[in-house]
């Protein structure tokens, strides 16, 4: 049962964990073990979703809120790029992502995204009290970007499969994969890549967010003051 109590938010455990443990000991003969386990599990989920120990805590942190909204904006920018480059102006049938022309485009895109995340960290820091606020904003924006970009790719791959399946790299990868359905192959591959993408963008967001947070004092000095 102690492991199940570990599912509660830490601040909730700090406040009520000992009392709950004691009550479980006192009532264990009145309930089946499975009933108590289910009751504790449900309670932990509820504690995460509600109250000051759960999601409300997330929304009460201005830096996290900033990261969330900025992450949405960056993800919208990413979605436009994805739709444009895969559907509206897809690469030619023999063009590869590794062609020098595309490599330069990717580098430019990475630089733009990096700048955006530094700005997220700076904005988060301006709403918080320490550089950690910038890091938190960057992490939230990074995770949100990874999740929404993955969902955008899955949607685009499925809705515009006929166009997407003509891409050189995708055709080669599919042929070598042994899969029989291009749609299933693209969807599963995209979802699998999220397992790596989410922690990677969280780390990148944290790093860029820290840079932004460290730049915040200089930004404050440079910014023209309104009267």
């Amino acid at each position: 049962m102690r492991r199940l109590i570990g599912l509660y938010p830490r601040s909730w455990r700090d406040r009520y964990g000992d009392e709950l443990t004691e009550l479980i000991e006192e009532v264990r003969t009145d309930h089946s073990r499975a009933n108590i386990a289910w009751d504790i599990f449900r309670g932990a989920i509820t504690a995460h979703l509600t109250g000051r120990h759960g999601m409300r805590r997330f929304w009460s942190d201005p830096a996290l809120r900033r990261g969330f909204y900025d992450g949405l904006l960056i993800a919208a920018f990413g979605a436009i790029i994805i739709v444009y480059s895969n559907v509206l102006a897809p690469p030619g049938a023999n063009e590869s992502d590794s062609d020098p022309e595309y490599r330069i485009q990717y580098l430019v895109l990475l630089a733009v995204l990096g700048t955006m995340f530094v700005a997220v960290g700076l904005r988060g820091r301006l709403r918080g009290t320490s550089p950690g606020a910038g890091v938190r904003a960057g992490v939230v924006a990074g995770v949100l970007l990874a999740v929404l970009v993955t969902l955008t790719f899955v949607a685009v791959n499925n809705i515009f499969l006929e166009t997407v399946s003509q891409q050189h790299d995708k055709r080669l990868a599919f042929a070598a994969s042994g899969w029989t359905s291009m749609r299933a192959y693209l969807t599963v591959t995209q979802l699998k890549s999220a397992v790596i993408l989410v922690p990677l963008t969280a780390l990148a967001g944290a790093t860029a967010g820290l840079v932004g947070a460290l730049l915040a004092p200089f930004w404050t000095r440079l910014r023209p003051r309104s009267h």
Binding site: W12, R15, Y16, D18, E19, L20, E22, L23, I24, E26, V27, D30, H31, N35, I36, W38, D39, I40, F41, R42, G43, A44, T46, A47, T50, G51, R52, H53
Partner: protein, 103 residues
């Protein structure tokens, strides 16, 4: 249809407030009292989930601990909310019972 499912107040928050209306109680005392007056055995997670929400809303508050036990008591705001709720429930119950008797 299981008529027992409709024959008892089962909202943990109301049960806790009603129990604390009598005197301050800790978790286990609340559990036993609710079982006695309402016939409901609340799960430990359900009981403490409701305690945390009630405390957060200022309807109950902790009192001085008794050893390892943490008693809670009703606040003025909690007493007001409970009175409002029960008065409303009594009005609805009276009307419902009257209508049943008339049929």
């Amino acid at each position: 249809m299981d008529s027992m499912a409709y024959s008892r107040f089962t909202d943990p928050a109301i049960l806790i407030l009603s129990s604390l209306a009598e005197m301050p109680r800790h978790g286990h005392a609340l559990y036993l009292d609710i079982m006695q007056f309402a016939g409901v055995r609340l799960g430990p997670g359900t009981l403490y989930g409701a305690i945390s929400r009630l405390e957060e809303r200022g309807l109950i508050e902790p009192t001085a601990p008794h050893g390892r036990r943490q008693p809670y008591r009703l606040t003025a705001s909690g007493a007001h909310v409970l009175r409002e709720y029960l008065s409303h429930a009594r009005t609805v119950a009276d009307i419902g019972l009257r209508r049943l008797e008339a049929t």
